[in-house]
Symmetry: C2
Subunit: 225 residues, 2 copies
């Protein structure tokens, strides 16, 4: 038994969501981790999510399968679209259409079911790939939607969306996580990690991560293939 | 080849969504039907969705599987929770937490991928079960979210959410559909239809549907078990 308030934490298995989970735990929440198997190429992320949840002592970890491949349109879900090896301008092809809307909707449903009034998501609008649904204005609007969308919201105690990383640089996120004792060697950020979780070192996500460790002055535990 | 504008139409296989699809087609849209297999009890709905799409001449029909059972909390996805046989007060246990948020998010992703600027959803706030995410204020807020959530929205041509049934009574919906030539015998509304699509006749959805046919003065083609 615990009197701690419950929170749902979206956990991809990457560096950012691992840090968001550690922050939520550190704030005293009883955390329920929610991962989504959306047919992403980098399935090693889900294995990483399980490791990260276990390391954090999370007992409740749901993995919701969803066939976004039926929709397609992203290098992360459609094997016909290649992951870029170089920086690109604009919104990149690794963008999954409406992904964060779907993920937050699922978190909202999960929060309602378990009676959690808090949702944590590790979106970041500084060192990120330029996805529209990582921006603060998107999150603020989703909060307004959440207040209307659910039974709990209608009854006046809808879920609060927390984005503790949204204004941090990747280096700041890493420093914060190291202070909280995270072993980033458990996490996988690469858009095209192999089954063992080894990173490519050249995709957008790998580049942002490697630069973050360099800037933070923290040894990079990432295993490259 | 067609010059008609594309639309994504959420199609559950029930009476309302079949009517929304017929209206979208009648308005001249090239319709892409989107159904979601969310582990609902009434799986006969999905078979109905396929029949309805075929009858309407829809070539593109995606069925996205999503394991909402991992979240639970509804009589429609959790076999441990019984479907009420009598009217209940408040939001009923057949409410699926955040369902319409999830469905609209998927439609938004699909619209972005196929380049559709219009989304149709058959929500109705008159003869409905009292779900919070069927109300006009929820839809209006989702529209605001859609304008921020996607690449298309950011580029200034995000999707418009159409709810042609939202202010119609069930009888009005049926009259409208009959005028458009819908065979409602193809549709399944029952929350606990059997595998052959035969209705229970006592759940909330069956009651609203039967009353709609009576009020509209239209013979009810529903097959009851």
């Amino acid at each position: 038994m615990t009197d701690r308030p419950k929170a749902v934490v979206l956990l991809s298995g990457g560096l950012d969501s691992a840090t968001a989970l550690a922050i939520a735990c550190d704030l005293g929440f009883s955390c329920h981790a929610l991962s989504v198997d959306y047919g992403q190429r980098h399935r090693a992320e889900l294995d990483a999510a399980r490791r990260v949840a276990a390391a954090q002592g999370i007992i409740d970890h749901s993995v919701v399968p969803i066939g976004l491949g039926a929709i397609g349109g992203s290098a992360l879900t459609d094997p016909q679209i290649a992951v870029p090896q170089q920086p690109t301008s604009g919104i990149p092809v690794t963008y999954v259409p409406a992904r964060n809307t779907v993920l937050l909707a699922l978190a909202l449903g999960q929060a309602e079911v378990i009676g959690a009034r808090d949702i944590f998501v590790g979106v970041n609008a500084v060192d990120y790939s330029g996805y529209p649904d990582c921006r603060p204005e998107f999150i603020a609007k989703f909060q307004e939607l959440a207040d209307l969308a659910t039974k709990a919201g209608v009854e006046g105690h809808g879920s609060r969306i927390h984005t503790p990383l949204i204004n941090l640089s990747k280096a700041d996120i890493i420093r914060r996580g190291v202070a909280l004792g995270i072993d980033y060697g458990l996490t996988v950020s690469c858009y095209q990690a192999d089954d063992a979780g080894r990173a490519c070192g050249v995709c957008d996500s790998c580049r942002l991560r490697a630069e973050g460790f360099r800037t933070a002055g923290v040894p990079d535990p990432t295993v490259y293939r």
